[in-house]
């Protein structure tokens, strides 16, 4: 079996970045990684350039390569542009999707559902990522896809955080998201742009609320610390 070491390295890095195995903002060591993936520095640097172009990494002249950070500004920009891009891409996907792509989407969705059933949160996030990238491919618009893909990078990295602790209440939300995926597939098959845009907005709002809930959880009872003293 012939494998392309360079491509394997690239995919491995993408996976490690999306799963937060390599944290946002952390520096990548050329020498270390080139040894780890059995490449010399030249092709590894080309991988870096490619991943930087896709928005995974940031190259800083003479001072190394960092994983794209996720600070407050990024989050604000993310929430500002995600719904518009997601909706636009979904509409185009419904208009332009071809058979093979729909098959791929169904397959990834089945993997996503299974990961949900088995509470494999990391797999869930990755299959979800792939699901939405396929929708991007269906849209087939090279002017929009770079924006979509950048949004998905950060969306997936965020979801790694909030998928983790699943209580029974939150578990219901997972099934809801999963069912939305199914409905989206159906709308794409029927080439129904109106429906998929609505579904996409709902899907976005579900995810957004989940993120918001994670960032701003229910506050602790203000009396908590006072009970003993006050009682």
């Amino acid at each position: 079996m012939i494998v392309n070491k360079k491509q394997a390295c690239q995919e491995a890095l993408v996976h490690r970045i999306l799963t937060l195995d390599i944290q946002p903002g952390s520096t990548l060591d050329e020498t270390l990684l080139s040894e780890e993936y059995g490449l010399s520095r030249t092709p590894l640097r080309e991988v870096f350039q490619k991943l930087a172009g896709d928005g995974y990494l940031m190259l800083n002249e003479n001072r190394g390569t960092k994983v794209s950070s996720m600070d407050l500004t990024s989050m604000r920009n993310f929430f500002q542009s995600a719904p518009m891009i997601y909706a636009a891409v979904a509409r185009l996907a419904a208009e332009n999707a071809v058979g093979q792509q729909i098959e791929d989407l169904k397959h990834v969705q089945s993997l996503f559902r299974r990961a949900g059933e088995e509470s494999e949160t990391q797999d869930m996030a990755m299959h979800n990522h792939r699901f939405h990238r396929i929708i991007g491919e269906m849209a087939g618009n090279p002017y929009l896809s770079p924006s979509l893909n950048r949004l998905l990078i950060d969306h997936t990295r965020m979801s790694q955080m909030f998928y983790k602790p699943i209580n029974s209440k939150e578990r219901l939300l997972v099934w809801e998201a999963c069912d939305q995926h199914d409905a989206m597939i159906e709308a794409i098959e029927k080439k129904d742009p109106g429906t998929i845009v609505n579904l996409t907005i709902k899907h976005w709002e579900l995810s957004r609320d989940k993120i918001e809930k994670f960032v701003r959880p229910d506050p602790l009872d203000v009396d908590m610390g006072l009970q003993q003293a006050g009682e």
Copy 2:
């Protein structure tokens, strides 16, 4: 004076691509260009990777790098997504622009107007390109800017074609576009998102009509070829 050869090479290539000096779809010769810009192939290839990431070039494994093509599909996708992205970016620009950026924008606009007065069509296209990129920078949304910048690449390349032959009727359209730029600057200074979105749509429609007119010119008189024979 210290110059960064690599960066100079990159900027030169961008300029040559945007001005159609290197045509869409044409292949780039690594050896030739590395000699031309006094670099070895390694850093030149890194420039290629960067420009490919920005949408100027396409890298094909083991079969060279080509300038991004502009075929019928690209055009369709372009017209489909440009208004949405332009409008969204303009709105964010009005909301987020800072003083220095507004100064830069005014300066580029003065260069654009002068180029128009002197009918330097190539300069016009390039200053116009810079004008709209600055608006992209003002928006400061890293999720949208890659889409905007890709649109601008192809928009500028198209405008190289249709700016060229300026008759007195078309000249008026140039002044109209120029005045729209001024109005846009004003709206940005006033932080007036509503106005700039409207202006941007109008500006887009003007440009779109111009492209359409170029692609589908007034047809020749159908009797032209028959006059002699029929008379």
